[in-house]
C-alpha cells in the first residue's frame, strides 16, 4: 500500500465520473458556461480552481473544530476570497503576463459553488489530508468537463484549438472551408455550453443506469 489507501483513491477518482461536480451534482455550472468558449481559458480555469480548492479545503479542515457553526459560510467565503486575492497579488508582482490571462477568472473562482460546496460538505468534517485529496479530485472532475466543453465549443465555433487553426483558414478558404464548411457561431454563445453539458450528462447516464434518479 502506497501513499493512498483505497478510500483516499476514491476521493480522487469518484468526482471524475460517477460523482462529477458538474454533471452529477450540477455545481459550478455558471463558470462552466461563461469561460468555455476557448480551450485555453478552460484549462487555465481548471488549474486555478484546483489550486484554490485544494488549498482552501486544507485551511478549512484545519479550522474545522474552531469555526462557529453560525457563521461558517462567512468564514468559508473569507478564506476563499483571501486565498484568491493573495494568489492574484503574487501573480501580478512576479508573473504579470499570467495574471493578465487570469484576470477574469479571479472573481469567478470566488463565486464558484463547487468551492463552497466542498468546504461545507467535506472539509468541515474531515482531516486535512483527505480534504486536500477531495479538493483536488473535485477540481479535476470540474476541469475535465470544462476541457471537454471548451474543446467542442472552440473547435466547432471558431475552428481552432488553443488558437491553432486546425480546420484551415475560414478567410483564405483553405482546409475544410474549401469544401464549404462553415463555423457555427452559435457554439460561441453560452446556451450551447449548457447543451454540450446536457449531452455529456445524457451520455454518462445512458452508460451508467445507476445514476438515473427514480421519480
Amino acid at each position: 500500500m502506497g501513499l493512498l489507501s483505497k478510500k483516499d483513491t476514491a476521493l480522487l477518482t469518484d468526482p471524475l465520473a460517477d460523482n462529477n461536480p458538474i454533471t452529477i451534482q450540477v455545481l459550478g455550472i455558471c463558470s462552466a458556461l461563461a469561460i468555455t468558449a476557448e480551450l485555453k481559458a478552460s484549462i487555465v480555469m481548471a488549474v486555478s480552481v484546483m489550486f484554490v480548492l485544494g488549498l482552501g479545503n486544507v485551511v478549512i479542515s484545519l479550522m474545522r473544530n474552531i469555526i462557529p457553526s453560525k457563521i461558517r459560510i462567512i468564514v468559508q467565503l473569507v478564506v476563499v476570497a483571501a486565498l484568491v486575492i493573495i494568489v492574484d497579488l503574487v501573480l501580478k508582482a512576479f508573473a504579470y503576463e499570467l495574471s493578465k490571462t487570469l484576470s477574469v477568472f479571479v472573481g469567478l473562482i470566488i463565486t464558484n459553488c463547487i468551492i463552497m460546496g466542498r468546504f461545507e460538505a467535506f472539509a468541515l468534517g474531515n482531516s486535512p489530508w483527505r480534504s486536500f485529496l477531495d479538493g483536488i479530485g473535485n477540481a479535476a472532475g470540474y476541469g475535465l468537463i470544462l476541457v471537454i466543453v471548451g474543446f467542442f465549443r472552440e473547435l466547432l465555433g471558431s475552428g481552432t484549438l488553443l488558437g491553432f487553426k486546425v480546420l484551415g483558414d475560414p478567410i483564405e478558404k483553405s482546409g475544410l472551408y474549401a469544401i464549404g464548411y462553415e463555423n457555427n457561431g452559435f457554439m460561441l454563445l453560452s446556451p450551447m455550453a449548457l447543451i454540450v453539458v446536457g449531452m455529456i450528462i445524457w451520455i454518462q447516464r445512458s452508460r451508467n443506469k445507476a445514476l438515473i434518479e427514480e421519480n
Binding site: T36, V75, A82, L89, V90, K92, A93, V104, G185
Partner: protein, 248 residues
Amino acid sequence: MSKKTDSNLYTIIFAVIMVVIVGSVLAFFATSLKPNIDENKRIEKQQNILYAMGVNENDEANANFVSTAIAGQEFKKYIKKQLIIQGDKVTEDENAYLIDVKKEQSLAKEGKTRKLPLFVGEKEGKTFYVAPIYGKGLWDAIWGYVSLDENMVIQGAYFDHKGETPGLGANIKQRYFMDDFIGEHLLSEDGEFKGVKVAKGNNDPKNEEKTDYEVDAIAGATITGDGVTAMIKSDLKLYVPYFQSLKN
C-alpha cells in the same frame, strides 16, 4: 448539550479575530508587493506604446511585446518626444506616458481641460503619433493605444481589456482584430473626423477597403466592439486640432 463554539460570545470573538488576521495578511501582501506591481504596469505601458507603432516581436499569428528586460531602452530609442496637449498648449514631458487617461476623462467631465498625452515615435525614418484611448466594454474597462501618421491614418493599434469574456470580447487583443485597423483612415477627404466603426456586416473580411471607416466585428462580442468604436471616436477626435496644427 451545546458546544462551546455555539455561544454568541465565541462567535463574535472568532469573527473579530478572523477579520483582523485576514485583514492584516492582505494588507501586508498588498503593500509589500505594490512596488513590483507598479513597475510591471509601467513597463507594460511602454510595451503597449511600442507595440502600437510596430515595435514588437509578433510571430505569424500572435501578438508579442518586446521583452520586459529591454522595454525601457527600446522606449527611449524609438519614442523621440512625449507631448502633453492641454487646450492650445503643447508641452514636452518625459513622463507623459504615466498620465492616467481615465482620470483625465473624468476631469474633462467636470469641465476642466484634460491633458492629452501624445507620443511621437520614429522608426525607419517614419514618424508615428501614438495616442492612448480608454473606454468601457461589456464587463469592465477597455483601453488601447493607436498610432497614426500625420494624416491621421492608423498605422497600428493595440487594445486591451480588464475583464471581457474569453473567446468573445477578449479577442479584441488578438492580432486578427487589431491588425484590421492598420491603414484605416480616421478623417474624411475634406478633413472631417469619422472614426472607425467596428461593424457587423462589413462584408470585407480581408479588410481591403481602407476608407470605409469600418472594420469587421467579432462574432458574439457586439458590446465590446461598440465600446472600441466609441473610445476611438471620443478620444481620438480630441487630437484633430493638433494634427491640423501640424499641417499649418
